[in-house]
Symmetry: C2
Subunit: 296 residues, 2 copies
């Protein structure tokens, strides 16, 4: 859910059969539980702040599983009376996760302290941008590391993958994909089976013969994947705090007051900056979904 | 106020004599008015959505001045029963603002429709990164354009400048600086009179012999000026949605659970992603300020 941060959108997925959800923050876990979407929630991230989840676990409002990759994160889960965990394993990307060879030891430690270890997780996100055939081969090698750890750990879950690798990752039992729901300009290049559904609608607030200015800027777009894409009227020149300056396309007819759609370059840190998603059918707003899982 | 988006911080400025404030969004204007900080509020930005300010103007809760740079934005101000305006003039940066030669005509048009035109504004933000002597000279030439427009427009306000040019801009009657209050790694290089006061405090959630991982990422930092700076324990390698991976500094002693301070690269789009600012004296939190001017 980290890509879209909305229990309204998650509800639609649940209605279509996706009853298990993967979260990146404790706030997302709490919000999903409160929204009645707690059938099987995975906190696919390490946290030392798990006591906020104790009540959810003990009340039975949600089934909670957390990722652990160290003695400290196991201790935090035990102290918060979390019952279930996955061992998080590094599979080539330098981020969280223990070495595959250490997974068995950590699983044993976790079990000795009363945690149910349901299996392993690992994320091969560093391979998302690889070209087709190379990607499949590299994902296979990455997942071999995860399966080696799974053998040592036991349990029946092998969780991993994402929108950029889902089509070549045939090893995991659970896919952690989320960006596919809304997409962005970056993912469109790496996951061509999905269409972009996410736009920021901005208003032209100023223009002259050469450029126009939109009233959406750095506080409306995740910028780590570069500039967003202005549709129809021209090309993004640069983004300021509350503005996009765009060069007017040849022959484009633009008037101050016009609404223009802009496609974000990165879905997750774009959605997290907005309070609401407006669901549209053409120009008609048919639903408004709160982005209710923001923050931490 | 766009840099810090907090009426609590603005109140401190007001207590110290800064009774006029400059906003970038209608939401900021409404929030400042509601907080009793409406002595003299400038919306230093064009908007076609000014009717949200009508009640503030008519109730007298705040003095409201808006920037206009076109017939359309003048019409929007008149329709919203805004009473006072500045003519926004482009002074070299391709963003909002009319040509200096057009400022007089727009002022006349605005006055003919009942607006009080208090003067001009223009922002020379494109010169912020110029080296010392060059900067002073380029700012002078930029402000000559603004003063030419001011002559044609009339009124007694010449508003402009920012944290990156305040020390060499001796022409404006009002400085639109805001970043100086909190600062960031980018501004520190261009405005060395101010110290950095803004940190994101993150927790080490994973580590091995080569790198560590913090629980703050793309949703906690404005990324358009590049990666934030991890203090003391190592260098930022890359930023993910909810993580910073940092290379461990030689000899750094880091344990899972440690708190680490990170300096944002750009203050405005960092603060806008957070709900609260914690004011600290050493390790003690002495006040908590809501970031209550977020959104639009």
């Amino acid at each position: 859910v980290k890509a879209f941060k909305s229990t309204a959108l998650a509800s639609r997925l649940a209605e279509n059969g996706h009853r298990g959800f993967c979260c990146a923050t404790v706030r997302e876990m709490l919000g999903m539980a409160a929204a009645g979407l707690g059938h099987d929630l995975l906190l696919a991230n390490e946290s030392l702040d798990l006591s906020r989840l104790t009540e959810v676990v003990e009340s039975g409002v949600a089934r909670v599983t957390v990722a652990v990759d160290s003695e400290e994160t196991i201790a935090a889960a035990v102290q918060a009376r979390i019952r279930e965990a996955l061992i998080d394993v590094t599979v080539g990307m330098p981020r969280c996760g223990c070495e595959p060879a250490d997974a068995g030891r950590l699983a044993e430690l976790a079990r000795s302290q009363g945690l149910e270890v349901r299996g392993v997780m690992g994320y091969e996100g560093h391979l998302m941008r690889e070209p087709g055939d190379t990607k499949a081969d590299l994902v296979r090698r990455s997942m071999e590391l995860l399966l080696e750890a799974a053998d040592a750990v036991g349990g029946d879950i092998v969780s991993g993958g994402g929108t950029g690798t889902w089509d070549v990752n045939t090893w995991v039992t659970e896919l952690q994909a989320g960006s596919y729901c809304l997409m962005d300009t970056e993912y469109t290049a790496h996951a061509s089976d999905f269409e972009n559904a996410l736009f920021v609608q901005a208003t032209v607030i100023s223009k002259n013969d050469r450029w126009g200015v939109l009233d959406a800027g750095l506080k409306a777009f995740g910028m780590d994947h570069g500039d967003p894409k202005v549709l129809d009227v021209g090309d993004c020149w640069f983004v300021s705090d509350e503005h996009i300056t765009f060069g007017l396309a040849e022959g484009a007819s633009v008037t101050v007051g016009d609404r223009v759609r802009v496609v974000p370059a990165h879905v997750d840190p774009t959605v997290s900056q907005h309070e609401r998603l407006h669901v549209v059918d053409g120009d008609e707003v048919i639903e408004i979904w709160d982005v209710d899982l923001r923050g931490w």
